[in-house]
């Protein structure tokens, strides 16, 4: 039930948002109230992906599914070939 609810949030709130930067979020699993995600497209390797994850995705999910303890990004960000924001030198 929790997994379905989270999938619905990803489909209706999160993916329409991140699509604005060419990104998408895939729900891999929910285990012991921990959500495992994979981020692709413009999100993969993006310099701001941690902000989007912690300040956006995690807060959206926790607000609707408060029993979620943590949201974990399993993406190989080094494999990203078209990240939306690249890190610089600061």
């Amino acid at each position: 039930m929790m997994k379905e609810k989270i999938q619905e949030l990803i489909d209706t709130k999160i993916n329409p948002g991140v699509a604005g930067h060419g990104g998408h979020v895939e729900l891999l699993d929910v285990k012991d109230n921990v959500v495992y995600l994979k981020l692709g497209g413009g999100c993969q390797g993006c310099g701001m992906v941690n902000v989007t994850l912690k300040q956006g995705i995690e807060k959206i999910i926790k607000a609707e599914v408060p029993e979620v303890r943590e949201v974990i990004d399993t993406t190989d960000h080094k494999g990203g070939t078209n990240p939306f924001y690249q890190a610089s030198d600061k």
Binding site: K13, I14, G17, V18, A19, G20, H21, G23, G45, G47, M48, N50, V51, T52, K54, Q55, G56, I57, K59, I60, H77, K78, G79, G80, T81, N82, P83, Y85, Q86, A87, S88, D89, K90
Partner: protein, 415 residues
Amino acid sequence: MPRLLLLLPTATYRTEAFLNAAGKLGIELTVASEKSNVLENQQPHGLLTLNFHEPEKAARSVVEFAKRVPIDAVLGVDDETTVVAAVVSAALSLHYNSVIATSAAQNKYQMRELLQKGGLPVPRYIKVSIEDDPAVLAQNIAFPCVVKPLILSASRGVIRADDPAGFISAFWRLKAILRTPEVAAHGPAAQEILVEDFIPGREVALEGLLTKGELHVLAFFDKPDPLDGPFFEEMIYVTPSRLPASIQKEIGSCTARALKALELKDGPVHAELRVNERGPWIIEIAARSIGGRCSRALRFGTGMSLEEVILRNALGMEIGSLERERQPAGVMMIPVSRAGVLREVRGEEKARAVPGIEEIDITVHRGQKLLPLPEGSPSYIGFIFARADTPERVEATLREAHQRLEVIITPQDFD
């Protein structure tokens, strides 16, 4: 819980470390960046867009925001955002460094002026315009000298010149960097160049925390590679320093006097100094913590990260011990060796297998365009972290791991 407004440029390396520290402390966070986050409309308390190039405008936006979402502290993570944080804090009547102090720490000429007035040991310097004729300027310059931008960090645009021909070449090269749209956006400071004496000697870095004007030295780093130019690519930082305790004390004292001269009073500071037979010389002081991902080399008290220390200090939370762990530690910033496109980094597993290596973090992605210094940004392929029983062992471990890496860059010309 208190709420902190964290000013994070989209291109900063510092995001993960600060978000992890905030999560550990359980503080409420609003993250502001110069470009809007895709989920900002859905999380309007946690995400904010501010124009960092216009601090007054940013401050007005935050004042309106704070009417709905009260802010207890503001923190910038790089040279530009520390100035914005000062302007915003003043508008919200929050405790922070003054705008004058943070501006001086961001602008190398203003910094030199204040340090010289304060009687601090600084290289002789002059400020020139990018519209000046370098051939004329070269007639009145002592060599060797260093040309550097008033702004920018990580040694970008910093070039040594040993004679008039070298100066003219360095001047044009820096002028081209300052004219790129990304750098020119910094405004008038991107129209000027600092020319100063080259100071020979060993370079060290001091990481510190200011509380009510008092400097707490968090770590001394040696930079074991000679930084004699023509470019000044920093590669290895190792702490604790192998310099004699008396010299370290002198460096700490010199830095404390410099901070007073700049009127910096609160928050993290990163100072870079040269040490020679005449004592320590202030090269740079920044009102921020160490750049890149280098802070991972530091742990305090019972395992606090540098970012946790900084957030606790900003919010007036108890910090406990500021003593760094006893074990020597270090970081290598993997340099960009040539211009081109990154194809692959080979040998990561072999490099990780070197005893003492804790982490190898490759921060560029395949297909990314790379430029070495002095033009380059990003300046690094990634970071190698090590801990060992002695500083010498840390340095050797970092070099060994670096030798096992093979960075494949395909040459490519960039316009």
